[in-house]
Structure formats: C-alpha cells, structure tokens
Amino acid sequence: MSAAGSCTRVDVTEEDFAEFAWREGWTDGLPVVAPTPARVDRLLAEVDLDRAHVVGVIGPRGGEATVERIAVNAVLAGCPPETFPVVVAAAGLLAAPAMNIAAVQATTSAATPAIIVNGPIRARAGLHGGRGALGPGYRANATIGRAVRLMLLNIGGGVPDEIDRSSHGLPSKFGVCFAENEEESPWPGLAAVRGHPGSAVTMTSIISLTNVRLPDPRPGAVDDEIAIIADALATRGHKHVQSGAGNPVLVLSPGTAAILDRSGFDRDRLAEAVFEVARRDGSGYTDQPLTRYRREGRGGRVLPYGSPDDLVVVVAGGPEPNQALILSSFVDSPVLTVPIA
C-alpha cells in the first residue's frame, strides 16, 4: 500500500477499467493500463523525488504535475518503469513558461511537443534511434510520447474540441519521442552541442512532419540534396516561413549525415548551407495581418526562419543515405533542453 499522495483514488471493477477510463476522459482514445498503486510505485522508485513534489504546472488548466501524477499518466500510457526519468524531464519542459504549452495545446493549427533524447539514458530506457525511430514498434518511444500526450490532457486540460481547437488534429499528437542515433552519427549529439553532454531531453513543438526523399547523394556532390532539403523547409505553408521564425527540425538518416560529413559539412556548416539556399525571391510573397515574412532588408529575399542557428539538426533513422524528415515549427514555442537527473 503506498503512502498518501496527490492523486484521488478510485475503486473500479478491473474488467470495466478500459470503459471507465474512456468515460472519465483519461485517454487519447486508445486503451490504457490501469494505474494501480503498485504500478505507480514501480515508476516512482526510478527517481529520487518525493511523490508529492510539484515538477511544475501545465497549461492552460494550470494543473499541478506532481511526481505521483506524472507517474499515474505514465502508467496509463504503458511506460516501463525505466522510462520514468525521461517522462519526468519531459513534464518539466511542458511546464516551462517559455514552452508556451497553453498555446501549443489550444492552437487551431496542429501543434504537439516533439521529444529527442540523448545520452546514456537512451539505452537504459530502451529508447530507439535507428530505423523507424519515429514510427511504431518501439515501446519506450511510443509510451513516453504517449505519456506526454496524456499529461497534456489530464494535467494541462487539453481536451479535444474544448481546449484543443486543432482544426484537423495530427497523428503526431499521439506522441513524438525518439532517441538521437549517436552511435551512427558523425557529429556530436544534439544535447551535447546545446550544452548538456550527458543524458538529456530536448523538446520543441512541431506542426507537421514531411518525409524528404534525397537522390542517393555521393560524397562531394551534395548540392542537389541541400537544395531539396532547403525546398522542403522553405515551403510557404510552413508557419516558420510565414513568420520568419521558429525552430524547424531536420532529421537526417545516419547514412545521409555520413555523406554530408564526408562532403565537408558538420552541423553548423550544413545549417548555413541550407539556410542560404532556402532564401526565396520575395516577389509574390504578400504580408497579411497574421503572416509577416521576414526579409533580408527592404524588398529582399524571404528567409525560411530567423537564422541558420534556428534549424535543429538531429540524426536518427535507418542507415540509408537518401532519407530525411522535416518537422516544421509551431514557432510560438522554443527549443529547450534539460539534463536528466
């Protein structure tokens, strides 16, 4: 029997639990695991935090993300205990005022947090950064991403059609969490370059995912690949283009990153090259009240986002040298990285 915590206890018939959870609005529409005290305690044992400790409040409801409540949502999502430190770190990022999560939750677009994990915690938590890292089949990736969604729902109040006003929704709202494939990347890990060389979680809010097929690049001859990536980033429908701001994410397969590296591109040089090519002739780009293109001076080229440094480059996926993925930016939400205790 666990000690008294912050969460209300409810008695329910085990066979009725799935229906009960659905009726109570606890779920994302899929079945959930019953958060019994014993299951919750198994997750709590993974962190050195008091169960009543408030990690933060999640908007717009302003509900308190206590360690216990985070664990309850993680159990619901199906998280194995060893993933719990990642979930707690993610909860802290959801609660960070800079993350502007209330707007992410409510926007009429389709924004959702994306989580990238670096460092030794990846192996311990069972996180996957290889083939299919953003797809189905990997328990830690799927359940951590789902735990984030359930926290947004149950703690932050992001109830669909009430607070969540996304016109179309987005499959990614079920959860986006993956590990960087540091072992096969030619470059230092994302979190390390952001000042956290150990285990760390990086979060930003995205509004779409676009697969980018590259024409089998060869070392030393990657102009086409950079142009194609730039085209995908500079599409006018992206909010980051319409505001000249935000932090789009470029996910490169390890094979693609390796060829770029052998062609003389590190992360920074690649970001600069992509930014240069992604600038567009501004004629025909008309500012509207809610669309303000950023230009290089008066009448100059339209920028795809603020600066090369704003592009988040991460390596994940299978070894193929011709695959990339672009996660476009919600804009009104930054990139934040925190170490995992």
């Binding site: 915590g5 969460c7 209300t8 206890r9 409810v10 008695d11 329910v12 018939t13 085990e14 066979e15 639990f17 109570e24 609005g25 606890w26 019953a34 958060p35 019994t36 005290p37 919750v40 409040v57 999640i58 908007g59 717009p60 409801r61 302003g62 509900g63 308190e64 993300a65 216990e68 409540r69 309850v72 949502n73 619901l76 502007n100 209330a102 707007a103 992410v104 939750q105 409510a106 926007t107 009429t108 677009s109 359930l150 149950n154 703690i155 109040g157 009430e162 607070i163 969540d164 006003r165 996304s166 509207q288 009240p289 809610l290 804009v331 009104d332």
Partner: protein, 171 residues
Amino acid sequence: MGAITVLSPVAAAAAVGVGDVARLDGLTGRSVAIVGNGWRSWAALREPIRAALVDEHGVTGVELFDVPLGEPAPEEVLRDVAKADAAVVGLANCGSCAVATARNARWLADNGVAVLVAATQRYAGMVASLAGELPLVNLPADLEQFDDGRLATLAAELPRQIATHLGGRAR
C-alpha cells in the same frame, strides 16, 4: 475479475476568477485601453470604437495596444494597459489567441482593471472556461471574413455594447 483501486491522472484546474471584477459606474472622464493581437477585423474596428467612446461616451482618452497573437503579452505591456481605467481585450478568434487573450484579460482583471473580452462565437466559451467570469462581447464567428461595409455596421453597434458591459452609459 475483482475490484481494483486506481489513481486518477487528472489535476484540478488552477483557481481563476475568484475575485470581483472591477466595474465602472460610468465612462465619462475615464480612460480606456483597447488591446489587439493582429486580427485584421479587430484592427479595423478599434479606430471607430475609439472615436465613438470619446465622442459619445465621454471617455477622455483611448490608447491602442498591440500584443502577440499566440502567447501572453509581456507583463510590462500589461502594466501599461493597466494604467487605463478599463480595457477591451481582443481578439479571441483562434485556439492559441483565445488562451492568450484569456490570460491577458485575467491578469488585468486581477490588477483592478475593468475588463471586457472580445471573442468570436467559437471561442467565447473557451475564454470563459479559462478566464473565469469576465464580461465578454460575443462577435460573429465569421468576423474575419467581413468586408468593410459589414465592419462599419458592426463598428456602429459595438461602442454601445462595450460601454454597457464596462458599466458606462451613453450620454
């Protein structure tokens, strides 16, 4: 299968709207701030509203403020807005801007300003759920599609509604 005990994942909402909302006993001699966030329709309505509040309702000064669409206004901006006796805060016309508008309005109400929220019909309930019991002027859902003529018609009606909500009386 028997009974099991489970823990609820749901957090209670933070308390909002627990205090009284300031209400004026008239607009004559008062100052009013009108807060906008980039929507074309609301930007077009603010100027005729300003003129009517001064000409027809005795308001001594109306100042217009522009705030971000998708995030709460910086507190220094809200402090400037709060120098007015009353504020009309808009426009809640999308999910993220409804959240931001609710936050801005609640901050002003909690700091003693007589507040009126401007929201389109789809977002009025959302603002109410987030900001508590604040006066609200409910605008057409398709406001952003209004042409100049329809905006002018609405602009002729709105100042009286605003004055009534804020506690003022037409002279």
